[in-house]
Every structure is written in structure tokens, then in C-alpha cells.
């Protein structure tokens, strides 16, 4: 005779009495008790459920599984279970059906995944080309009636991507200027070449850091916003609604954004150049004792206008990269809101990647042309 909290087993009568609560909470305990008992291998075993207080599907599953395990050794009979418990046992037994466990998810081999990924990238690139081509066509189409009420969306794009970005871009550029001046200052001071900070700082900010830092910040701030805005409109079927009303999304949503950013990014770059230089100037004053007067006097003598123009010239290219990738990823959102998040991340990563690639290409071209 085995006596436990959840069951008792009378070996002589071959009678297992289930007691107490056969539920999820006590499952581990029941399982242990049930598998501990030494069963006789002959005759008929009766399972009595009369005094069971509570049974849920977890308990029922355990009992059904246990019966299946011993089914070919010994005849097992369930007795005195209440109607509800009996129903539950029957249902659980039915649903267990054919054994088979949980199917494994098939994971393709490494090479296959690499191949699949590459093809995916190519398809995406192809889609991007189609997107750009489509936009160009749309742009030429609306050129015929350029002022057909599309000024307002452009203005609003300029406001949100440009005007609202002024404080953060100004502040960050200022700090970049400070950092660069500090790093260069440490070197220059050793050689007593303090005044050359103006040359180094001016060239590096105007030619490289101004455009690049601005573009990267705008990619994070505006590119992601484009993707998220268009993406949620896509999920909400607003884009489809526009299409059915004979207003193409390109005309109303995408081209104004691209034009807006195209105008704004060079302006933001000048803004960043200005604050970056100011930051460098303050650092030069406090660290290298180059007074602002000297700095401003020397600046136009050693920094050619070319440096500013070359830097500014990159900005429209960066703008096209950011806006087109942002809008492209936004339009590729499909299904659930999860995809908005995925595509937003993708949009920022791709924008920054291609900004830096473009910047590298510019450097190669400028050096070939001796600019």
C-alpha cells in the first residue's frame, strides 16, 4: 500500500486512487508520485477518480500519457470519474491522437542561407532602382504643372526636417568643433604651431565634418521619420486610398519630402559649419591662446572658398540618399506594425552606409581632380 497526498495505491487490490488536486500547480508532485510506484505487470489495474477534487487538462494529460505508457503491459480501467473529468480525459486522449511530438523547424544550411540572402539583396536593389525610376517619371510628369498646390507639403517637409533640426545640429556641431580642436591642439602645441589650428580646423570642418556629421544626424532623425511615417500610412492603407483617388503617393508624399530635404540639407550643412567653427574657435582660445580676433582674421586668408563649396556640394547628394532610402523603405513596409520597426532600422543603417560610401567616392574623385 502506497499512500501519498495525491494518490494511494493498493497493490493487492490493484487499485490506484487519485486524490486531491490534479492540476497544473501540483503536476510535478503528481508526476513524481505516479512514476515512483512499482506496478504489478499482470491482471487489471483500476484507477479510481471518485475522490479527486479538481482535475484540469494538465492532470488529465498526465494520466492519459501514463495510461498509454503502460497500455501494453497491463489492462487499465478508469472508474468513478465524474462526468466532467471523464469528458476531459476523453478529449485529451482524442487530441493527443497519433504520437509525433512537436515538429522541428527546418533550418536551411549555411550556404543556402548565404545564397538566399544575396538574392534577397539583389531583389531589393532591383526594387530600389525601380522605385527611383518611377519617382523620376513622376517628377517629370508633375513638372508640367509644378505649382499645383504642392508648395505646402514641401514647406512642411522643410519645416519639420530643417527648421526643427536647427538646435540639435547646431549643438552637436559645436561640440564636434570643440573635440576636433582639442585633439589637434594637443599635437600643435607640442610644435608651437598654435596658429595653424585655424587651417586644420577650417578645412576639416568645412570639407568633411560639417557635411558628414549633418548628413548622419539627419539620416537618424529624418530618414527614420520618413520610413516610419510612410510605413504606418502604408499599414493603415492610406497609401492605397490615395492611389485609388488618382493622387499618386509619389506626387503627394514622396517627392515633396525629397525636394524638401534636398533644399534643407545644404542649409543645415552651412549651419553646422558655422557652429563647428565657433566651437573650434572657443577651444582654440582657451587651450591654444589663439584669440577669436586672430582666428577670424586668419580664417579667410588660409581657408579657400573652394573648401566650403566642395563640402556643400556633397550635401544635395547626401540628401538624395537619405530621402530616397527613407521613402523607399517606408513604401516597402507590409503586413504588421512590426515591419515598420524593421524597415526604420534598415533605412537608417542603409542611409548612413551609403552616405559614407558616397563620401569616400567624393574623396577619391576630388583627389584625382586635385581639388
Amino acid at each position: 500500500m502506497t499512500e501519498q497526498a495525491v494518490l494511494s495505491y493498493d497493490a493487492d487490490a490493484q487499485r490506484l486512487t487519485c486524490k486531491g488536486e490534479w492540476d497544473l500547480l501540483h503536476l510535478t508532485q503528481i508526476k513524481k508520485a505516479l512514476y515512483q510506484i512499482q506496478w504489478k505487470k499482470t491482471g487489471e489495474l483500476t484507477v479510481d477518480g471518485q475522490v479527486i477534487q479538481k482535475m484540469d487538462s494538465a492532470g488529465a494529460l498526465l494520466l492519459v500519457k501514463w495510461r498509454a505508457l503502460h497500455a501494453n503491459e497491463i489492462a487499465i480501467r478508469f472508474e468513478n470519474f465524474s462526468q466532467e473529468h471523464d469528458d476531459l480525459l476523453t478529449m485529451v486522449a482524442k487530441e493527443r491522437g497519433a504520437e509525433g511530438g512537436i515538429p522541428e523547424a527546418v533550418k536551411p544550411p549555411f550556404l543556402a542561407r548565404v545564397g538566399e540572402n544575396s538574392v534577397q539583396r539583389l531583389i531589393e536593389f532591383n526594387a530600389y532602382l525601380i522605385f527611383v525610376g518611377h519617382l523620376t517619371y513622376e517628377f517629370l510628369r508633375i513638372l508640367r504643372k509644378p505649382f499645383h498646390g504642392r508648395i505646402q507639403p514641401i514647406a512642411s517637409a522643410i519645416y519639420s526636417t530643417g527648421y526643427r533640426a536647427l538646435p540639435i545640429i547646431g549643438l552637436l556641431s559645436f561640440m564636434i568643433g570643440v573635440v576636433i580642436a582639442y585633439q589637434m591642439g594637443v599635437q600643435l602645441r607640442d610644435y608651437g604651431a598654435n596658429i595653424y589650428i585655424v587651417n586644420f580646423l577650417g578645412l576639416s570642418i568645412l570639407r568633411e565634418f560639417g557635411p558628414l556629421i549633418t548628413a548622419i544626424m539627419v539620416a537618424g532623425r529624418t530618414g527614420s521619420a520618413f520610413t516610419a511615417q510612410l510605413g504606418s500610412m502604408k499599414i493603415n492603407e492610406e497609401i492605397d486610398a490615395l492611389d485609388t483617388m488618382g493622387v499618386t503617393p509619389a506626387e503627394l508624399l514622396i517627392i515633396p519630402r525629397i525636394i524638401g530635404l534636398f533644399i534643407v540639407l545644404p542649409l543645415l550643412t552651412i549651419w553646422a559649419d558655422f557652429f563647428g567653427t565657433i566651437g573650434g574657435m572657443m577651444m582654440a582660445n582657451s587651450m591654444l591662446h589663439v584669440s577669436p580676433d586672430d582666428f577670424i582674421l586668419r580664417f579667410p586668408q588660409v581657408i579657400p572658398l573652394k573648401a566650403l563649396i566642395l563640402g556643400l556640394g556633397k550635401a544635395p547628394v547626401f540628401a538624395l540618399i537619405i530621402a530616397s532610402i527613407g521613402c523607399f523603405e517606408g513604401m516597402r513596409v507590409k503586413g504588421s506594425s512590426e515591419s515598420v520597426g524593421v524597415n526604420t532600422t534598415k533605412s537608417v543603417v542603409l542611409s548612413i552606409f551609403f552616405i559614407i560610401v558616397a563620401d569616400a567616392i567624393f574623396s577619391v574623385i576630388f583627389s584625382e581632380l586635385d581639388l
Binding site: 492540476d23 497544473l24 500547480l25 503536476l27 510535478t28 508526476k31 484540469d56 487538462s57 494538465a58 494529460l61 500519457k65 466532467e84 469528458d87 476531459l88 478529449m91 485529451v92 487530441e95 493527443r96 491522437g97 509525433g100 512537436i102 515538429p103 522541428e104 523547424a105 503586413g335 504588421s336 512590426e338
Partner: protein, 260 residues
């Protein structure tokens, strides 16, 4: 059995102030054990707010909500956890975790709330999936790979995986085709029978109300206007209730039910 008449949910004098107006002015509602209670009402009558209050997602302004005899509005964190283990919720948008497979979704409450080994967890989760009529092969799919009706079933499986005593269904048949909707109705009835569930359904679906519910609470003007079985509810003289059920759709649903 005396247990059958014990109230599972007791809401008394519930008042909720949202934004600038009172959503609930004086809601009183009792749901008995093993009962299927429907909650209906026009748009903006506070059905969803009531559900959210019962689930603790929204704090009502005044009143009392007792679930399984525990007062929720002043309950400690431990009491909450105990209550939460005894209920399951099917949200209107299914709320399946998109980053987990269907099986992982269903197994999630088990992993969080029990100390079972992984095999037992998966086995139980799979059992629940089969119970709601999904296939073994669906278990390893992601929710986005399933159709709307199957997602609904998977979400239902997750709601019942801890063998709750009470489940809340928010618009369970919304967005399903009529065939799937009536299958879901039958599934709800079958689950109540086999698992001894108490079920609260918030729905606009008149066919579901006729087919599934034992009693229906009609919300309107910030109160429960009437609680009764459907066939008695539709005969209520109250103008709001009358208008709700006497439209063409209401009469068709009633006629269908009477034919059966």
C-alpha cells in the same frame, strides 16, 4: 452543486471618469461560475473600458470589482498574480507575440508561471493548440504566417493554457468569415463544457450572442441597463435596448436562432 452559483465576478457601483465625461456612472454586474456572460452595448458605451477595468489595465474612479472573491482595486501585487493565473484573455487583435512561434506563444505563460520541465511545457502547449483546432504543423509557424482565424485560435490556446477558471474574450468573432465565426462559437461552447470555464464575451456579433451566451448584460448610459437571457433581453421595452436589437440584422439573427 453549490459552487455553480458562486459569483466569479462581482462589480458594484463602478464609476469611471475618462477624458471629460463619465464612461460608467453606476455599473453593477455579477457573473456566476460556469456561466457565459455576454456584454453588449452601442459604440462608446464603455464595454472595452469595463473589460480593461476588470483586467486591471485601467483604474476606475470609484466602486468595487471582485474577482474570485478578491477586491481588485486595493489588491496587493501577490493577490493580483494569483488572480491573473486564474484567468485568460483573448484580445481583439489577438496580441500574439510576433517574435515567437505559435507554440512558444502558447508555452509562454507556462514557462513564466510553472516550474515544469520543457518537455511537459511543450506537450501541454501542443495539447492546447490541438484542442482549439490547430494542426501540429502550425505550432512552429510564426503568427504572421497564419490566417486571421488561425491566429484567433492560437490566441485562444494561449488564453486557456494555464487552465484558467475564467476567460475574457474581446470581440472574438470580429473580422472572421461567417463560417469561421460559427466554428469559434462552437469552440467556445465546447471549451466551457470540457474545462468548466466561466466566460465573459464582449461582442457585437448578434449570432454569437444568441448561440453562445447564457445571459447578456446591456451597457448604456453609463449603467448596466439589463442583464438577462437573450430571448428575454430582446423583449425589453427600454428604447436603447429595443433600438439595438430591433434593426434588420437583429431580427434576422433572432429568426435564425429560433429556426435552429
Amino acid at each position: 452543486m453549490t459552487e455553480r452559483t458562486t459569483p466569479i465576478i462581482e462589480i458594484s457601483h463602478l464609476k469611471t471618469h475618462l477624458g471629460k465625461h463619465w464612461v460608467h456612472q453606476d455599473v453593477n454586474l455579477t457573473v456566476n461560475s460556469h456561466e457565459i456572460m455576454g456584454i453588449v452595448g452601442g459604440s462608446g458605451s464603455g464595454k472595452t473600458t469595463l473589460l480593461r477595468a476588470m483586467l486591471g489595465l485601467l483604474k476606475p474612479t470609484a466602486g468595487s470589482i471582485r474577482l474570485f472573491g478578491c477586491e481588485l482595486l486595493t489588491a496587493s501585487a501577490e493577490t493580483w498574480l494569483k488572480v491573473q493565473r486564474r484567468w485568460g484573455v483573448l484580445f481583439q487583435q489577438n496580441a500574439l507575440f510576433s517574435s515567437l512561434t505559435v507554440l512558444e506563444n502558447v508555452a509562454f505563460p507556462l514557462k513564466e508561471h510553472t516550474d515544469l520541465d520543457l518537455d511537459s511545457i511543450n506537450e501541454l502547449a501542443l495539447l492546447k493548440l490541438l484542442m482549439v483546432g490547430l494542426n501540429r504543423d502550425d505550432a512552429v509557424k510564426y503568427p504572421s504566417e497564419l490566417s486571421g482565424g488561425m491566429q484567433k485560435r492560437a490566441a485562444l490556446a494561449r488564453a486557456i493554457v494555464l487552465d484558467p477558471e475564467l476567460i475574457f474574450l474581446d470581440e472574438p468573432t470580429a473580422g472572421l468569415d461567417p463560417h469561421l465565426a460559427s466554428e469559434l462559437d462552437e469552440l467556445i461552447i465546447a471549451l466551457r463544457r470540457t474545462m468548466g470555464l466561466t466566460i465573459v464575451i464582449i461582442t457585437h456579433d448578434l449570432d454569437t450572442l444568441w448561440r453562445v451566451t447564457d445571459r447578456v448584460a446591456f451597457l448604456g448610459q453609463g449603467k448596466v441597463l439589463c442583464v438577462d437571457a437573450m430571448d428575454k433581453l430582446v423583449k425589453q421595452p427600454d428604447p436603447t435596448i429595443h433600438a439595438f436589437f430591433s434593426g434588420a440584422r437583429g431580427r434576422v439573427a433572432e429568426a435564425n436562432h429560433n429556426c435552429e
